[in-house]
């Protein structure tokens, strides 16, 4: 028998997931932090282009640059995870595939972030 209930009727009364405002807020706060940190990264890339290893290592290991890089990595990976989550929720339709890609998103952003943090700490503490 055909289901005569509309999709809207099926979800009405179930309530929202109640996480929308939190997601929005974290995305905007990380975006705000990313503005100065992105300008720092672009300046760093332009500044270090073509420099040799000793110069790059000295720059990245200096306290101010290292702290700014760490802040950038944390803020950017948080923002990346939120942004890619929205893209996945928009385009991945199957429930199983969606959960798997959402978990992969979490793992990817954490691993990329940790790899960057490890490198910065190693450069800072001298190698």
């Amino acid at each position: 028998m055909a289901d005569m209930r509309t999709p809207l009727n099926k979800v009405r009364g179930l309530g929202s997931a109640k996480e929308g405002a939190d997601h929005f807020w974290r995305q905007r706060v990380s975006a705000l932090a990313n503005i100065p940190l992105t300008l720092f990264l672009v300046a760093t890339i332009a500044l270090l282009a073509g420099k040799d290893h000793a110069q790059v290592a000295a720059y990245l290991g200096s306290p101010l640059a290292a702290i700014a890089m760490l802040a950038l990595i944390v803020s950017a990976t948080v923002h990346m995870r939120l942004g890619m989550q929205v893209i996945i929720e928009d385009y991945v339709n199957g429930e199983g595939a969606k959960i798997l890609t959402l978990v992969a998103n979490t793992f990817f952003t954490i691993m990329v972030g940790l790899a960057c943090v490890y490198a910065i700490i190693k450069l800072s503490l001298g190698s």
Binding site: V42, V56, G83
Partner: protein, 135 residues
């Protein structure tokens, strides 16, 4: 709603290919594409940082790749994506305050942010290339 099975046969809203391409629409798409590109571009940043932390030999290898024509183009594209996504984000902050929704303003901001992202990227690389000891 995303998971609801739409079986009622009622018309859905038309998707991208139905509309005539417009600048504002392209800027919206570009914001998402640059975001996704930056997501994977972070792998390159991690690679470069790890190379710097590994030692001169491996760093020179990675830096050599970055210095090739393809490497330079990717680096240029990466900085443009960073700046374009950042300016697009600032546009969203303006909209978040409830301002800038008049069509003329929306159109102006789309043009201005595209011009600014391209201009700033070229300017930054011009400075980097001209500066002593640059590429």
């Amino acid at each position: 709603m995303a998971n609801a099975k739409l079986q009622t046969g009622r018309p859905l809203s038309p998707h991208l290919q139905i509309y005539r391409p417009m600048l504002t629409m392209m800027m919206s798409i570009a914001h998402r594409i640059t975001g996704a590109a930056l997501y994977f571009g972070t792998l390159a940043l991690a690679w470069w940082l790890i190379a710097a932390a590994t030692g001169p030999e491996y760093f020179n290898f990675v830096n050599g790749l970055a210095g090739t024509l393809i490497g330079k183009l990717l680096l240029f594209g990466y900085t443009w994506a960073l700046i374009h996504h950042m300016i697009g984000g600032i546009r969203h902050f303006i909209w978040d305050t409830g301002r800038g929704f008049d069509l003329s303003v929306v159109e102006f901001m789309a043009r201005a942010s595209l011009a600014a992202s391209l201009g700033l990227t070229v300017l930054i690389w011009a400075i980097a290339l001209i500066a002593p000891g640059g590429l």
